[in-house]
């Protein structure tokens, strides 16, 4: 059940929520829409879900144009950031709501509800009320409710936002497992790049209402097409006029590389963050392993050299050299295999790094 967005635009007053967004969201994959606050991610998700109507452009699900279709009839499952539990109903009644709305027979509803509750491991809490559930449990209930109607697409709006770090981590793993089990096309919105990279098969990075880049996490991390994507997806520092990843720089003894002085050393668990000042006054930092740093034997104030790490480097790739694109500039996935002239779709064959 792929989703097709064609030049979708939504304005709020004078400001653009999303502007001229064209993308293909692959069927069966877990796609993350990533971007800073206000980038238009939730807007885009709501457009897909039908809770908002675009001012321009078309939206299709599985080939069917749904732009003018009410969310009731789109057969999508939507999980809200606040979980939107029906507070006056029990968990079981919440999960069964969509089926009751479709007027399914009672026996069928009961069976399906039991099945869903088992899937999300909330069977014990079937007769509790939302007020008695924790954040993580409410999230699972929201998922069960959305999945109960067998949607063709599952949309999740900042699913991990309101939870504490440990629950977030557990839920991330759990959603990944659930997706592997159920294989429904899932689109999730988040502002946390780490979560997106860990969980998603493919990423859509939005900035200011427009798509910056789309592709697999590895592609975007290693070959960002813009400064923004580079900075957004991972740490960066400026060296020799370009932005580089701090772990792609290495500190060498004085005499080699670009001369610099160590200004600060911070131990971050396994890694060391070395802040340096170059002779021309600019500050940069290098991410080094403990072993590497200890081998150097330098401390704050010492003079050292900085150079790029030999081998793989992730540095800014100008769009022309990065990946083949459609004539109108729309990004194409699957950069490892050049398929010019074809609007690329990610499927199991050319996904790198994540085989289902």
């Amino acid at each position: 059940m792929s989703i097709s967005l064609d030049r979708v635009t939504k304005r709020f007053g004078v400001a653009f929520g999303v502007e001229d967004v064209t993308a293909e969201i692959p069927s069966g994959a877990l796609t993350a829409i990533l971007g800073p606050s206000g980038a238009g991610k939730s807007t885009l998700l709501r457009l897909i879900g039908g809770l908002l109507t675009p001012d321009a452009g078309r939206i299709s699900i599985d080939g069917e144009d749904v732009t003018d279709v009410d969310p009731r009839h789109r057969n999508i499952g939507f999980c809200f950031q606040s979980y939107a539990p029906f507070r006056h109903m029990t968990v079981a009644k919440n999960v069964g709501y969509g089926l009751r709305a479709r007027k399914r027979p009672r026996a069928e509803i009961a069976a399906r509800v039991t099945e869903m509750l088992e899937l999300v491991r909330l069977s014990d809490l079937a007769n509790r009320y939302p007020a008695q559930l924790s954040g993580g449990e409410l999230q699972r209930m929201a998922l069960a409710r959305a999945l109960a109607i067998e949607p063709r697409v599952l949309l999740l709006d900042e699913p991990f936002g309101a939870l504490d770090a440990q629950v977030r981590g557990e839920l991330r793993t759990w959603i990944k497992e659930l997706h592997d089990q159920i294989h429904v096309t899932t689109v999730l919105v988040t502002h946390d790049q780490n979560e997106a990279m860990e969980v998603a098969d493919c990423l859509l990075v939005l900035n200011d209402g427009r798509i910056e880049q789309a592709g697999t996490p590895t592609e975007l991390y290693d070959r960002p097409v813009s400064e923004f994507v580079l900075r957004f997806l991972g740490p960066s520092t400026t060296f020799e006029g370009t932005s580089v990843r701090p772990h792609d720089l290495v500190v060498v003894p004085a005499g080699g590389g670009t001369p610099a002085a160590v200004t600060e050393v911070a131990t971050l668990g396994f890694e060391i963050r070395v802040s340096l000042r170059l002779d021309d006054g600019t500050s940069i930092w290098v991410q080094s392993s403990r072993a590497e740093y200890d081998a150097l034997g330098v401390s704050v104030g010492d003079r050292v050299g900085v150079q790029r790490r030999p081998g793989v480097s992730s540095h800014l790739v100008p769009p022309a050299a990065a990946a083949p694109t459609e004539p109108d500039g729309a990004p194409v996935f699957g950069v490892d295999e050049q398929r010019p002239g074809e609007r690329g779709v990610i499927d199991a064959a050319n996904l790198t790094g994540r085989q289902s």
Binding site: G49, P71, R72, R74, F80, A84, F86, Y97, A131, R145
Partner: protein
């Protein structure tokens, strides 16, 4: 609230003044009402209450309430939905209009209705007369007057709850396939039920006890257009029948006190609901 109360000896002066004021102003009259009503014994009290005039007044008051409460509840909920969910030109005007009848004297409400619908002098008088509809000096007029003076109660009780609950649950229901009416009855209404009940109780209490507006529009025709408050007034004003007016007053007072109790219970429930919503 972390303010420590002052020491015991310093509390008493203010306490005595305040409690004394309340006892004299409110406590004394209320106690006296019940004492005087039952002073000739319960039998006499019951005799007065079961007089045809009194029973007729009770019936009329009840019938009026049976019409006014549902109408103003539907109107109040509909207006709350409109004000909470949609932007439109004239929002403020709608909002203000609801408050007009309780901001002005009930007598003025009655006089205004009179000049709109009275048979000869009213704007629509001749038109209504021609169709045989009598508004002023009939139960219809009393119903209109009661609707006017109890207009905003349901709206004001429901609107804040509706705003606080927000639209998320309804959006979720929509994505799950529920149509507008299903959403209203299964999601919206349950969420606002305590607010609705609170407003309904206020409306009922106000309708049963309304005096000033009804005094003008009813014409005070015994047996036909006397509500209970008018009956109480008339019993003394025309007949100096102390016991009759007393008995009626006690019945009304009991109804109002019951309403008060119900309201404070509902306030407690609503507070619990608010804790849930947060």
């Amino acid at each position: 609230m972390s303010v420590a109360a002052p020491s015991a000896s310093r509390r008493w002066p203010l306490r005595i003044v305040v409690l004394g004021y309340l006892a004299a102003l409110v406590g004394l009259p209320v106690v006296y009402l019940f004492v005087k009503a039952f002073s000739s014994g319960f039998g006499a009290f019951w005799h007065e209450v079961s007089q045809p005039g009194s029973v007729g007044a009770l019936e009329l008051s009840a019938k009026i309430a049976a019409v006014v409460v549902p109408v103003n509840t539907i109107v109040g909920v509909a207006a709350a939905l409109l004000l909470a969910r949609r932007r439109f030109v004239g929002r403020r005007f709608l909002d203000l209009t609801f408050d007009v009848p309780i901001a002005v004297s009930p007598i003025i409400v009655g006089v205004a209705l009179f000049f709109a619908y009275a048979e000869r002098i009213g704007w629509f008088g001749p038109w209504l007369l021609h169709r045989g509809i009598m508004v002023i000096f009939s139960p219809l007029g009393i119903a209109l007057a009661s609707m006017a003076v109890s207009l905003p109660y349901v709206l004001r009780s429901v609107l804040p709850v509706l705003i606080e609950v927000g639209e998320v649950q309804e959006s979720a229901a929509r994505t799950l396939g529920a149509g507008p009416w299903r959403r209203f009855f299964t999601i919206t209404l349950p969420a606002i039920r305590w607010g609705v009940l609170y407003g309904v109780t206020l409306t009922l209490a106000r309708t049963l006890g309304e005096f000033g507006a009804v005094l003008i529009v009813s014409g005070n025709i015994q047996g036909k257009t006397q509500t209970l408050p008018i009956y109480i007034y008339d019993a003394w004003d025309q007949n100096y029948d102390a016991l009759a007016s007393y008995a009626g007053a006690v019945v009304l007072a009991l109804i109002s006190i019951t309403a008060l109790v119900v309201l404070s219970i509902l306030r407690g429930r609503e507070r619990k609901l608010h804790v849930n919503i947060a």
